[in-house]
Amino acid sequence: MNNMIVSVNPHVYAKDTTQTIMRDVLIALFPAVIASIIFFGVQALLVEVVCVAVAVACEWAFEKICKKPVTIMDLSAAVTGLLLALNLPVEIPLWQAAFGAFVAVVVVKQFFGGIGQNFANPAITARVIMLVAFAGTMTTWKVPAFTDVTSAATPLAVIAGSEGTLPTLLQMFLGARGGSMGETSCLALLIGGVYLICRRVISWHTPVAFIGTVLVLTALLGQQPLYQVMAGGLFIGAIFMATDYTTSPPTPAGKLIFGVGCGLITVLIRVWGNFPEGVSFSILLMNILNPYICDWTKTKPFGGVQA
C-alpha cells in the first residue's frame, strides 16, 4: 500500500522548461534563416546546417567523453550553432564554420561547466575568435540578391570610408545589403524579437536600451543614426545575443545598464575604433562586466532590515 510519492511543495509547475525556451529562440530565428536564404542563396542554409550539426555533435561528444549527462535535448547547443552561423559571411569555408561551432560549444561553453556556467556568450566569443583567426574570409562579403549595389562592402564600412554606395533605408530594413548572412534583415530579426517578448522569453529592456543608446549617441555625433542602427549586427546582437540569460543580468535595472553599456561600447568602436563593427566586442566586454552589474542591481528584499 505504502507506495505513494512524498515530496516537498510545490507540486505543480509552470509549463516552460529550458527546452521550450530554447525552442522558442529557434522559432524566433526562423525568419532570419529564411531571409538569409533569400538574400544569400542556398549556401546560407548549408552553413547553418553545418554549424548546428557540429555544435550539437560537439556537445554530445564532449559530454560522452566526460561522462556527464547529455544535454543536447535542451536545444541550447542548436541555438548556439544557429546564432553563430547567422553571424558569419555566407562564403565562409565550411571547415572554418565547423571550427567556430566547436570553439563555441566546447571551449566557451563546456570548458566552463556547460549550460548556465559560461561567463561569455558562446556564439559571440567564437565569432570574435574566428575574426582574429580567419581575418580574410570573415570579412569577405557577398553581394546580396535583389540589389543594385555593385560593391559588397558593408554599409558600416562605407560609412567608415570604404568605397561603395550605401543601400537605401528600405533595403537596409529588409536586408538587401552586405553583411553576415543572418544580421542583414532587420525586419526578420524584429519579428523574432517581438515573438520572444510576447512569449516572455526575453524582456524588452536589453534590446531597447542597446538599440536606443546607439541611436541617440550616433545622432548626437552626427553619424547617420538610422544607418547605424540597422547596419552591422546590432539587431541580432541586441535581440538574440545580449539577452542570453547566462551572460546578462536577471533584473530589469541590470538589463538596462547592460544594454546601455553594450550600446556605448558599440558606438565607441564604430566611430573611433579600428574595426567598422563593434557589436560582438561590446557584448563580450559587457559579459565580462556582468557579475558586477548583477551585484550592483541586487533586489531589495520586501521588509528586509539592513543589519
Partner: protein, 450 residues
C-alpha cells in the same frame, strides 16, 4: 519604504468545486485524532482507552500557551492511544476512537459567556481554533494582543491556492457567521477598519460579502488580483493596507491582525452555539479523484474514508493536505484529516512524478516572481557552498516558502526546497554566533570579577 507591486505567479486556478455545496461524510467506523494539529506544543490527551466520548467533548487539553485543545467530532469509545507518522515525517500521538454512529452531542456543549476582550480570547482558546488557512497557528495566541494596537482587522478570503474552495464555500454558505465574527472582533478590538481580502476570481464571494457586510461600520471588501500568493499574510497586509511588516516583526507591529475567514466563522459558530472545532469542510480534488467535491468531515477521519466516499479514478500516487503550491504530501492514506486541512488532493502517476532538475540557466524567473524580491538561485548556490553569511545577506529568513520560485523555474531547480534547508542552516549559524557571543561575554564578566 517599499513601494510598487509585489510579484507572484499566475498559477492555474482549477477551482472545479466552487459550486459544490458541501455534503456530510457518513460517519467513518474509526477516527484517529492527532495531537499535533497546531504550530507549537501538541495537545495532551485527557481520555483513556475505554472512555465513552460524545460530539464536542474535549479529548485533549492544550499542551501549553502555544497550543489548542481538541474535541471529538464523533460519539463512540476511545479504542487506544497510538502513534502515526505525520506528514512532516515526525511521529505523532493519536487518539483512536471507534464510532457508534449515534453522533450524540455532549451535554457540556453550551455557548460561552463572552463579555470583554479577555473572555473573548478565552472563548477562542476553548473553541480549539487554529489558523485554518493551513498554518495552524493557535488563534487565541494571535488574538491575545492589546486592543489599542489594532488598527486593521484583515480577514483572509483570498484562497489563492489552486483547487481549494473550502474558504469560498465558507463565504457563500456561512457569510453571516463571518460577519458576526467580524463584528465580535470590532467590538473587542475597536479597529478603524475591517477588511476582507478576496481574489477577483471569486466575484460571487465579493458580492456576497459586500451584501452581508452592509451596515457594519468600517467593513469593506477588497477585491484582489488573482495572483498567487495573494493570501500570504504579509502580501495580504501590504495589498490591503500598504503596510510592510519588517523583518522579525509581527503583523500587530504594523497594527494589523490577519484571520482566515473560515477560522472566523468557526469562532462565531462556537460563540453562538458552543460547538467547538470538530469538523471541517474539505475540498477533495485532483487528477485521481472521480467526482471532485466539498465534503464535511469530522477532524480525525482517515483520508482513505474521504477518498472512498468521493470515488477514485485510479490509485493515487501522491496525496496532499492543502493546495499544490504549499500543501504537504502524506505518507499514507491512513493519515487523518486535521484541523487545518482545507483540501485533500489526490494525483495520478503523471501529476505525482517529481520533475527532473537540470542546470540553472540564470534566466532570473525565480527573482522576477518572488513576492519578497529574494534571489532564490543565489540562495541555492550559497547553500550548496555552505555560506551562512551570504544566506544572511540574501535574507533567506524572509522566505515564506510560497513556492513561486520553484514553480516558475524552467530548469526545475528545487529552489523553495533549498530555501527551507537554507533557513535551517542560517538559524543554526545564528544560534552558534549567539552562543559564542554569550560565552565571550561571560568570560569577560569573569575577568572583571577577578
Amino acid at each position: 519604504m517599499f513601494s510598487g507591486k509585489l510579484h507572484g505567479i499566475h498559477a492555474p486556478h482549477r477551482k472545479n468545486t466552487v459550486d459544490s455545496v458541501p455534503t456530510r461524510l457518513p460517519v467513518p467506523p474509526m477516527i484517529t485524532v492527532p495531537m499535533s494539529m497546531n504550530i507549537g506544543a501538541p495537545a495532551k490527551p485527557v481520555v483513556k482507552p475505554g472512555d465513552e466520548v460524545k460530539v464536542g467533548q474535549m479529548i485533549a487539553e492544550a499542551g501549553g500557551f502555544m497550543s489548542a485543545p481538541i474535541y471529538s467530532g464523533v460519539s463512540g469509545k476511545v479504542k487506544r492511544l497510538d502513534e502515526i507518522v505525520s506528514s512532516n515525517g515526525r511521529f505523532d500521538t493519536v487518539i483512536v476512537i471507534e464510532t457508534d454512529g449515534e453522533q450524540a452531542v455532549w451535554e457540556g456543549v453550551k455557548p460561552p459567556v463572552v463579555t470583554d476582550k479577555d473572555s473573548f480570547v478565552e472563548a477562542v482558546r476553548q473553541c480549539g481554533c487554529v489558523g485554518l488557512g493551513g498554518a495552524g497557528f493557535p488563534t487565541s495566541v494571535k488574538l491575545n494582543v492589546d486592543p489599542d494596537r489594532v488598527h486593521n482587522i484583515i480577514i483572509n478570503g483570498a484562497e489563492c491556492e489552486p483547487y481549494i474552495t473550502s474558504d469560498t464555500r465558507t463565504m457563500i454558505d456561512s457569510a453571516d457567521d463571518v460577519i458576526y465574527g467580524a463584528q465580535l472582533l470590532q467590538k473587542y478590538y475597536t479597529a478603524d477598519r475591517i477588511v476582507i481580502g478576496i481574489e477577483d476570481n471569486k466575484p460571487q464571494c465579493v458580492k456576497i460579502m459586500q451584501e452581508a457586510g452592509k451596515g457594519v461600520p468600517g467593513f469593506e471588501v477588497a477585491s484582489l488580483p488573482a495572483l498567487y500568493p495573494q493570501g500570504g499574510e504579509k502580501v495580504l497586509i501590504y495589498n490591503t493596507t500598504g503596510e510592510v511588516v519588517p523583518e522579525g516583526k509581527l503583523p500587530i507591529d504594523v497594527g494589523a491582525i490577519v484571520i482566515n475567514c473560515t477560522t472566523l466563522a468557526v469562532i462565531a459558530k462556537y460563540i453562538k452555539t458552543g460547538m467547538p472545532l470538530v469538523e471541517k469542510v474539505v475540498t477533495v480534488d485532483g487528477s485521481a479523484v472521480a467526482n471532485p467535491q466539498n465534503v464535511i468531515v469530522p477532524v480525525g477521519t482517515p483520508i482513505q474514508n474521504v477518498l472512498d466516499f468521493v470515488g477514485l479514478k485510479c490509485e493515487p500516487k501522491k496525496v496532499l493536505y492543502g493546495g499544490p503550491m504549499m500543501g504537504t504530501s502524506v505518507p499514507s492514506l491512513e493519515n487523518p484529516v486535521m484541523k487545518n486541512t482545507n483540501a485533500i488532493l489526490a494525483f495520478d502517476e503523471k501529476d505525482a512524478a517529481d520533475p527532473v532538475p537540470s542546470p540553472c540557466i540564470r534566466c532570473g524567473r525565480c527573482v522576477g516572481h518572488c513576492p519578497f524580491n529574494l534571489m532564490p538561485a543565489a540562495i541555492e548556490s550559497a547553500y550548496n557552498n555552505n555560506e551562512p553569511v551570504t544566506l544572511k545577506a540574501l535574507k533567506v529568513n524572509l522566505c515564506m516558502e510560497c513556492g513561486c520560485c520553484s514553480f516558475s523555474c524552467p530548469a526545475r531547480r528545487p529552489l523553495v526546497q533549498v530555501n527551507k534547508l537554507a533557513k535551517a542552516m542560517l538559524n543554526k549559524y545564528n544560534a552558534e554566533q549567539k552562543a559564542a557571543a554569550e560565552k565571550k561575554a561571560a568570560k569577560e564578566k569573569e575577568k572583571e570579577a577577578v
